[in-house]
């Protein structure tokens, strides 16, 4: 029944058939519209072959479902006939020419036709290595195709497959264009913001330039004029040049700090010592203005800071305070240690700071609306001072704010600027010791790469990074990442305390951020690389020490992350941590890392290639567990197991390469998959209950399940939940040889099997969850 076209040539076809073929192929090459392509291909094929009817079945490669394609563009799901030609063609990956010899009632995908065909051609549509669907051509009477006619069918199929491929590529291109468009819009917004800064900056630069130009011209015009204070004019030029170069330096500093180019040189320093130094530094300036500086230290201790940068911050605050103080006034500088933070406040008794300005003062070029004493303008520092101070504080993982001091009588006077910085910056010596053990091991580097891929696949995320403590410097660096441009990875380091990763490493607690722009813990601008503003960040602990974090951004469907996602990431991270812990414990064993690597890769393939253990399943399993009153810790375990319990299928998939009906040997391999899953996960798993849940998820309530034939309550509750969630997922998802069931139909099936295959109580809880999700209408 197969094509035998050796030695045949298309030129043997009648001229009319050739013309029809040429017209169809040409038309398909030029249109991006599948309806038009299919319309021409089918009508020309029918005429050239004198056939009765033709069908196009499109294979959806994501879901594996088949769709009957109509010229109008309408698609209806189609289920291939059991033992029929489509199944045969898919399995053998070549065309089938049924000449009618098998009789009038042979399987010919009867549901596709108005009249049962008496002969049928079924051709796979393959372009490259990708299968796009099937072309079926039906005849009213038995008909054997001559070799040149088979060539014609083949040529048509090839053109049709190419048309399908092109349409898919065009669709992908459109999506890509939309993404590029969105990125461009974000870029324009960023440029607008930048040009706003540029316009202020150009004003700021022109002020000293104006003076320099005006004075220089005036000096030149008055070289012989005895009445002109030429020396004073030259002094002004000199002073304004200094101001200009100070401004340029500040702009450079600010962009270096904000651009992440500055790394902190951290040293421990005594807090009271730091206070004394900065106050002495500014006492001359204060003395000249008749202002006193009072230093007060509430407690003392060593703090880890970049001394030069922090002195600059404090100096800026004190200089500002002195500048705004009236003659005879005082500036109070107060240091204190409060738990994990140290705080410094600088209070002056100059004019009050307008309340609406309290939040604005740290923006670049904020123009103080406080009046300087005597109305005298000042050239002390530039207006970028506070913006630079704030970026230095943020780099240390600290906060900075301004407030209105309350005086005893409740009157408003003066202003107070405060900073709060963490006492400890660098990773502990134990964490650094562990980091040293992992650094430079090629096998671990490979494992880290596999881990970020696995996390991305498990959480539908497109950007994931694994960030570790640098053993020598105690700061953090990106050890592995997915979806980040090289520019953001190379050399990008962060102080342990700065940024979200730093904060999570320092706090040692997992964090879910729904919107980074509004989250009060980390108020900052969203990085344009991240489409979504939601992120997850979980600390990576080895031997109880935080040695890094796993950072997840940018969910593929664009929604914010939820608590369920965070819980899954925590569970995954704990497994990853235990693998790293073992690698450190047995530094000479290659095997430990290799096994973990295999486990992690299987977890990725489970989601990527088999689309099993998706987030929806994980969330439903958690909801059911909650519904049944399980503890939060148990809910977390259920969610995790729901995500990975079928991992054994990855190995079986490799052995049973073709989808479809299984023979006896394959069937017995499938029944072994719970054990295979456990085997694969062994290098990562340390909880007995996880193994029990996985092992029991194909047991049946009535004792007819596998592998142990347990009954009723002796099946772990977690396994009973998985059984129901899996059954639902499998019933309602399209596969090549099975169309998805209607939800109500599937719910009835669950009810029918309650007490037989499933635990009745679990089915009830599951249906409640579905109702709440809106998956089932209340009436059903």
């Amino acid at each position: 029944m197969e094509a035998n076209v050796k030695g045949a040539s298309l030129l043997e076809l009648p001229g009319e058939a050739l013309a029809l073929l040429a017209e169809a192929v040409l038309a398909m090459r030029t249109t991006g519209d599948l309806g038009v392509s299919w319309g021409i291909a089918s009508s020309n094929a029918l005429r050239a072959l004198n056939a009765a009817d033709a069908r196009l079945l499109r294979l959806d490669r994501r879901s594996g479902a088949l769709f009957r394609y109509e010229e109008s563009g309408v698609e209806t799901p189609y289920l291939a006939e059991h033992g029929g030609p489509v199944e045969w063609v898919m399995r053998h990956d070549r065309a089938m020419f049924d000449d009618g010899g098998a009789g009038p009632h042979a399987a010919r995908e009867t549901l596709l036709w108005q009249q049962p065909p008496q002969a049928l051609v079924t051709v796979p549509l393959v372009a490259g290595n990708t299968h796009y669907g099937f072309l079926l051509i039906a005849f009213e009477s038995p008909r054997s195709l001559a070799a040149p006619e088979r060539l014609l069918v083949q040529a048509l199929s090839d053109a049709l497959a190419l048309a399908l491929e092109r349409i898919e590529l065009l669709r992908a291109l459109d999506q890509e264009r939309a993404r590029v468009g969105a990125a461009e819009r974000r870029l324009v917004t960023a440029q607008d913001a930048a040009s706003g800064l540029m316009s202020i900056l150009s004003h700021e630069l022109r002020s000293p330039l104006s003076s320099i130009k005006a004075y220089a011209e005036t000096v030149a015009a008055n070289l012989d004029n005895e009445r002109a204070p030429r020396r004073r004019f030259l002094e002004v030029i000199d002073e304004e040049c200094d101001r200009l170069s100070g401004l340029v330096t500040d702009v450079q500093d600010l962009s270096r700090i904000e651009g992440g180019e500055t790394t902190l040189r951290l040293t421990p320093v005594g807090l009271s010592e730091l206070g004394r130094v900065v106050c002495v530094e500014h006492s001359d300036l204060a003395g000249k203005r008749g202002v006193t500086i009072a230093l007060e230290c509430d407690g003392d201790g060593r703090v880890e800071v970049d001394t030069a940068l922090v002195r600059r911050v404090l100096g800026n605050l004190i200089a500002n305070a002195v500048q705004f103080s009236p003659e005879g006034g005082s500036v109070r500088v107060r240091f204190a240690i409060r738990g994990e933070e140290w705080v410094c406040s600088v209070t002056d008794d100059g004019p009050p700071l307008p309340a609406e300005d309290l939040a604005l003062v740290f923006e670049g070029f904020y123009r103080a609306r406080r009046e300087l004493p005597g109305g005298a303008p000042s050239h002390e520092g530039t207006r970028l001072g506070l913006a630079i101070a704030r970026s230095i504080v943020v780099l240390h993982g600290g906060r900075m704010w301004a407030e209105q001091p309350q005086t005893g009588e409740g009157s408003m006077a003066g202003a107070r600027f405060c900073i709060a910085l963490p006492v400890r910056q660098v990773a502990s010596s134990r964490a650094r010791r562990i980091a040293r053990q992992t650094a430079g091991r090629a096998d671990l580097a490979e494992l880290f790469d596999a881990i970020v891929e696995m996390v991305a696949a498990s959480l539908d995320a497109s950007i994931v990074s694994l960030i570790l403590v640098d053993p020598d410097r105690g700061d953090l660096f990106v050890a592995a990442s997915l979806g980040l441009g090289p520019a953001s990875v190379d050399g990008r380091r962060t102080t342990l305390r700065s940024g979200v990763a730093g904060a999570v490493a320092a706090w040692g607690r997992p964090v879910l951020v729904e919107n980074i722009e509004t989250d009060r813990r980390f108020r900052r601008l969203n990085h344009p690389q991240y489409h979504t503003k939601s992120l997850l960040c979980v600390p990576l602990r080895v031997e109880g020490e935080v040695v890094g974090v796993i950072n997840v951004n940018n969910k593929i469907n664009g929604e914010a992350f939820e608590e369920d996602d965070l819980a899954l990431l925590v569970m995954l991270t704990e497994r990853v941590s235990s693998a790293i812990e073992r690698a450190c414990a047995y530094p000479d064993s290659r095997r430990v890392v290799e096994d973990a690597l295999e486990a992690v890769r299987c977890m990725t393939r489970l989601k990527r290639d088999l689309s099993l253990g998706g987030r929806r399943q994980m969330k439903r399993a958690r909801s059911v567990a909650r519904e049944l009153g399980m503890s939060p810790a148990d809910v977390d375990v259920i969610g995790y197991v729901a995500s990975i319990h079928d991992v054994g299928m990855v190995r079986l998939e490799a052995e049973t390469a073709h989808p479809g009906r299984l023979d006896a040997a394959q069937r017995s391999a499938v029944t072994a998959h719970p054990e295979v899953s456990i085997e694969i996960l062994r290098p990562l798993e340390y909880l007995g209950v996880v193994r029990d849940y996985i092992l029991g998820h194909h047991e049946r309530w009535d004792g007819t399940g596998y592998p142990r034939g347990l009954t009723g309550d002796s099946i772990p509750l977690g396994s009973r939940i998985l059984a129901v969630v899996d059954a639902w997922e499998s019933m309602t998802t399209a596969r090549p040889f099975r169309s998805p069931r209607d939800p109500h139909d599937a719910a009835n099936e669950l009810r029918r099997e309650a007490g037989r295959q499933f635990d009745e109580e679990v089915v009830e809880a599951f249906l409640k969850v579905l109702h709440r999700e809106g998956e089932l209408r209340a009436a059903a």
Binding site: S211, A214, Y215, V236, P377
Partner: protein, 132 residues
């Protein structure tokens, strides 16, 4: 006898000083102000013959000050030259909308500013100049 009275308004003290010198050498009497409010008060009290007004100033900026001056019966006839670091066309447009008579961008040449002032004060109508 002074050629006329000029009010120079700028929050940059060095600019005020150099204009004081240059206009003084030219024979003008110079009054100074460091912000818009001061400028408005001095203009009403002293009735200068021309005002050089910076745009970017704290409290009352140059545009606002200019509007006030042009709305006040006692000061509306006084020619105003706006002086600013902003050099874009949109700023000039706004400047003329608020009734300014001329516009000079920083960095500027004191000599050219003096020439401009001489020209304005030497002419009977600043309006004709605007239309030219």
């Amino acid at each position: 006898m002074a050629k006329g009275k000029i009010l120079v308004v700028d929050d940059e003290i060095y600019i005020v000083h150099i204009l004081d010198f240059s206009l003084g050498m030219e024979g003008y009497e110079v009054l100074t102000a460091l912000d818009g409010e001061q400028a408005f008060d001095k203009a009403r009290a002293e009735k200068p013959d021309l005002i050089v007004l910076d745009i970017m100033m704290p409290k009352l900026d140059g545009y606002e000050t200019c509007k006030l001056l042009k709305a006040d019966e006692t000061t509306k006839h006084i020619p105003v030259i706006l002086l600013s670091a902003k050099g874009r066309n949109v700023d000039q447009k706004v400047g003329f909308e608020v009734g300014a008579d001329d516009y000079i961008t920083k960095p500027f040449s004191p000599r050219k500013l003096v020439e401009r002032i001489n020209a304005i004060l030497g002419q009977s109508s600043s309006q004709q100049r605007m239309q030219a």
